[in-house]
């Protein structure tokens, strides 16, 4: 199972997929692409102790992904 949390105004929205289900993976991937094109940053977060990494391309096998809106300096 894969999970993607998309941060938004109402808290995060979760998109879950079964890696064996092509339709679910396709839906998740298209959302990932649409949001990163808008400027969202994507991070792969692991279990405790695992390193957080920024990702540019969707991979259904990454486990948990968090998409955050664009970050700016103030």
């Amino acid at each position: 199972m894969g999970e993607m949390s998309i941060l938004g105004k109402e808290g995060d929205t979760k998109v879950i997929w079964d890696v064996k289900n092509e339709d679910e993976v396709e839906v998740a991937e298209s959302q990932f692409d649409a949001l990163t094109e808008k400027g969202f940053l994507a991070f792969k977060v692991g279990k405790k102790g695992e390193k957080t990494t920024q990702i540019k391309k969707f991979d259904p096998n990454l486990g948990k992904i968090i998409l955050v809106p664009k970050i700016a300096g103030g």
Binding site: L7, E10, G11, K70
Partner: protein, 225 residues
């Protein structure tokens, strides 16, 4: 009111003369007086000291005239009052709608913040989330430096001997739950510290006090490992 006067030969006497008299007099004269009364000269009794006596009553007992303010008739004034009342009720209704909308938005923000803290809980665990809730601060240990991210906004970059105030946040951050901002900064600081520092604006660097975030004070903030 009674008004009476007396000359050398006879006496004039009148009751109810100028029932209402508004005056702005100077000294003992009434030369600069202004008067207004619906009941002017209710009764006038006068006495001619040389000839016969004239007497008359009921002179201008009542002065009837449509009330006019700013050139408007009573009907126009009534109409204005109706319009005013209608607008007042409309404004009151609108105010209530705004208040209800604000309440709804406030409730939605609360719910969003709850969801956001649940995500943080997933990422840093219960103990650190509780500490974050208590202190409103989250310490991220980067590869080069540490970053103290404040829930209310702003980041302190903690170096060995200095502290820097950084300004970095989600674009349009006030539209998002406060904790979403913290989570986003935490993820970027952990994943790409260089990019984090490139985006952030440094608003000033100062000497790091010796007791700033030493081990026994780490309970003053949550720590994202």
């Amino acid at each position: 009111m009674t008004f009476s006067t007396c000359d050398g030969n006879g006496t004039s006497y009148s009751n109810y003369v100028w029932e209402t008299w508004s005056t702005a007099s100077t000294a003992s004269t009434t030369s600069s007086a202004t008067s207004y009364s619906p009941n002017i000269w209710k009764r006038w009794v006068s006495c001619d000291p040389y000839n016969a006596t004239d007497s008359t009553t009921a002179v201008w007992v009542t002065w009837i005239e449509p009330i006019q303010l700013s050139g408007k008739t009573k009907e126009q004034i009534d109409e204005d009052e109706k319009t005013y009342e209608k607008r007042r009720l409309e404004a009151e209704k609108k105010q209530k709608e705004i208040e209800e909308k604000q309440k709804r938005i406030e409730e939605e923000r609360k719910q969003a913040e709850i969801k956001s803290k649940e995500l943080l809980l997933d990422l840093i665990g219960k103990e650190q989330t509780d500490l974050y809730e208590k202190t409103g601060r989250l310490l991220v240990k980067g590869n080069k430096h540490d970053y103290l991210i404040k829930k209310i906004g702003g980041v302190i970059k903690v170096e060995k001997d200095k502290l820097s105030d950084l300004c970095i946040h989600l674009e349009n951050r006030y539209a998002f739950p406060e904790t979403d901002n913290v989570i986003s900064l935490m993820l970027l600081a952990k994943a790409d510290e260089e990019e984090f520092n490139r985006i952030a604006n440094n608003h000033g660097t100062r000497h790091r006090p010796t007791d700033f975030l030493i081990e026994d004070q780490l309970k003053q903030c949550a720590v994202a490992q």
